[in-house]
Symmetry: C2
Subunit: 479 residues, 2 copies
């Protein structure tokens, strides 16, 4: 009987262990699966990441050949390891970043090497006792000055890595010179291996599926414009639909996520700035000239972000229950507000595609004019209108939405101006007047004229109501 | 005569050269002066920068001693250079950043060293021809996998530098092992020099005028709160003053700059996130425990930023000319709006000082209650009010300001909740009920009671009007 219970106990322990083991396996299986899923997602989100990883592997393997190949190794010896080091530290995702880092590294190594040799020579005059003392002083002073210089915003932005490598190489050369007599050979080896490593990175990053920071910036700005545009295009319907029926309708999740896409624009400043910095290191490529006005993209991006702050304020009103709205006031503003919003959205979309295709943004102007017309419609219908509102409180949300929309229109105009400036300085092609744009663009109500001409063309004339400048825009389309 | 003209010519050339030389000297003098001015400004803005530079110099000089001191040099040989390298690459401004980098570097070196030796051993079994091929494959695969892993957001945030050093060391050890037979010695030397360099950095950065990332984050959040607070405190007067007199009054530049200080809050996300990351590496220090809830600061910071978006929208209305304002409507909203704004500002200021002094934020609640009272005053005075406005357009700016202020108050409440959570999880001390806060805080109109008690204390009871929860707050003050 005792044996039986012992058996049972050991079976129990075994089964318990088995269970734990199975749970452990299940857990790690789940973790591995999750990792695989994550990996797949990250690769799918941007397939260039996979290519980049392969490129780094390739560059590193190529540089390792220095070690494996007897004649090359004999030339450089153990210093060949610097080439490996350079590749790992310098190879970045975009061409601009790689160029910036390798140029910084090469120039800094050259300068610091020369200065280091000089410092070592000066120190050697001061006798065996004075030499380490003098060298220590040199290293200390250089380190202090260089480290402090990294706090200068301009240096921080463009030459931070260079200054780091400068301190590094200077200390290494001047310090190691104290023992290694062949200091010139060391500096020379280090410089040439750094150059070889840097050159390998540059060649591979430019010639194998290059990732241009400039192109990324270009697309990011266009993409951010599109995000704002989708919000504005959808906002009018979203806001007024809710309140017409008196209760919140459930919006499909997909709609909601397109509306919320603009949120990422609010915090894209850092990305844009580093892309613009890297882009300025890049040579002529594809559609971009050597001195493409990258800074103008930052100007546009800042305006887009300011517009996004307004959109953030608008977004708050799609979420709150507006059932108490005042029907009379609302009737007055619904049409012009919806129009202001959707036409601004269309204008932004036209600007985005103008940037994408590098064409002059003239197609956006009619939409902007339309939204200004709507703005003036709003003004005239409200101005002098006697209000029968018994409850001012009920007017407030609608009034706020109208007011923020007016602000948004002014920002759309500013963005248009900035894109025009970009188009001028980057020599964008003139936009072809498209027949399609005709159909999409609603005829300006009461304020423009649409006249077919004798030769089958259509001329739309839009009179802007803005008192300061009456502008007449002609859009010709072949019907 | 010819000689004379030659003389004149040469004099002319000389004076021209002299002029140029003088201009050059003047120019470089101006540049040097500007540089000196800039340097002084950068040092003055944050004196810790100067100290940091000196600390780097000290660390580098200390590590250089390895080279100068014969017995130490004999132990490590040329590998001692790795210590210099480590110091330059690892020493960062804050303790957290330095710790994060040195720990990343040490652990990565250890792991990659072990794996590199393993790879080298495996490869050595495959004969002289197979070895370089196999090693190349190992390096390629490791580089590809590690580079790809850097795209994972979690690894990118905390272990980016570690992964970099991992690839570096792995390739170096496995590749150089092919030639240098004493691979174990190399790995050992590299590891111990890295440890020495890292330890030097850590000791110096912790024990000589330490800069704690956590403290910086703590202060940054409090400071951002203060910036919003100054805007809100000043906004009411600023906005209504402009329009009362019917024209824009010139605001003193100083006032303007305090009002505009909030702009930096809009783009502080990146800074906050990196500070929080570094803070999580830091040990117990000063007023901060080991597991201080750094993430909660990010939650608060996000709310502050969302509040700043509203403030940005408000700011637009201080700049536009409001001369057309509707006096009747304005009279209704001026008092409650000014109060909402200034009391919200006071609440934020109280929250900021609660964070700074690490005390419970109870002193902010009365201010919040006051601004809510004002909000309800606004509601009741607008609700059911017959409007005699002949011009709805004129109401719109004021209505917008009121509406955004209401939003701001809800955000202030959210911030208060978040700070309370922080105070709970970080065990902030209870706030001492201050006599000063009594005088500063205006008595809640009609909705609270102020009663002197028999023992000379004063009890203020504030009834919140919010229908969902009627909260009674007692503030005791010794008069």
């Amino acid at each position: 009987k005792k044996k039986e219970s012992e058996m049972q106990l050991s079976i129990g322990i075994l089964s318990c262990l088995c269970g734990r083991f199975k749970a452990l396996i299940g857990k790690s299986k789940a973790k591995v699966l999750e990792l695989a899923k994550n990996t797949k997602k990250i690769g799918k989100d941007d397939p260039r990441r996979v290519i980049h990883s392969l490129k780094v592997g390739l560059a590193l393997t190529l540089v390792s050949l220095f070690y494996y190949t007897r004649p090359l190794y004999d030339g450089f010896g153990i210093a060949a390891i610097w080439a490996v080091l350079t590749v790992v530290l310098v190879f970045e995702f975009s061409v601009g970043a790689t160029l910036s880092k390798s140029l910084n590294r090469s120039v800094a190594t050259l300068m610091a090497g020369a200065l280091g040799i000089g410092a070592q020579q000066i120190a050697s005059f001061s006798g065996e006792k004075g030499e380490p003392f003098l060298l220590g002083t040199f290293v200390f002073l250089t380190a202090v000055a260089s480290t402090f210089s990294r706090f200068f915003p301009r240096i921080k932005a463009r030459y931070d890595y260079g200054v780091l490598i400068f301190i590094l190489t200077f200390s290494m050369v001047s310090v190691s010179g104290y023992h290694v007599e062949k200091i010139l050979k060391l500096a020379n080896q280090r410089l040439s291996t750094v150059l070889i490593g840097g050159a390998t990175c540059i060649v591979i990053s430019i010639f194998i599926c290059p990732v241009w920071a400039g192109e990324d910036l270009h697309n990011l700005v266009a993409h951010n414009l599109e995000k704002l545009a989708s919000f504005l295009e959808g906002f009018g319907d979203e806001y007024f639909r809710i309140s017409e029926s008196g209760e919140i309708q459930v919006v499909s999740k997909e709609d909601k996520s397109t509306l919320q896409a603009y949120k990422s624009v609010l915090n894209s400043k850092t990305t844009e700035e580093s892309l613009a910095n890297f882009a300025s290191w890049e040579p002529w490529h594809g559609r971009f000239r050597f001195r493409h006005p990258w800074k103008q993209y930052l100007t546009i991006a800042t305006l887009i972000r300011q517009c996004a702050y307004r959109v953030e304020a608008l977004n708050n009103y799609t979420n709150t229950n507006q059932s108490k709205a005042q029907p009379e006031f609302r009737r007055k503003i619904q049409d012009p507000c919806t129009k202001m919003s959707s036409e601004s959205g269309k204008a932004l979309k036209a600007l985005a595609s103008a940037i994408k295709e590098m064409k002059q943004p003239s197609l956006a102007s009619p939409y902007l004019a339309n939204s200004k017309t709507a703005m003036n419609d709003l003004r005239t219908s409200l101005k002098g209108a006697l209000s029968n509102a018994t409850d001012l409180l009920e007017i407030i949300p609608d009034a706020t939405v109208a007011s923020i929309l007016v602000e948004t229109v002014t920002f759309v105009e500013k963005i248009l101006e900035a894109v025009k400036e970009l188009s001028d300085s980057a020599n964008f092609k003139p936009a072809e007047p498209l027949a399609i744009s005709m159909e999409k663009q609603p005829a300006p109500r009461n304020r423009g004229t649409v006249k077919p001409t004798s030769d089958g063309d259509i001329v739309i004339t839009i009179h802007e109501i803005s008192p300061t400048r009456a502008e007449t825009q002609n859009v010709q389309a072949t019907s």
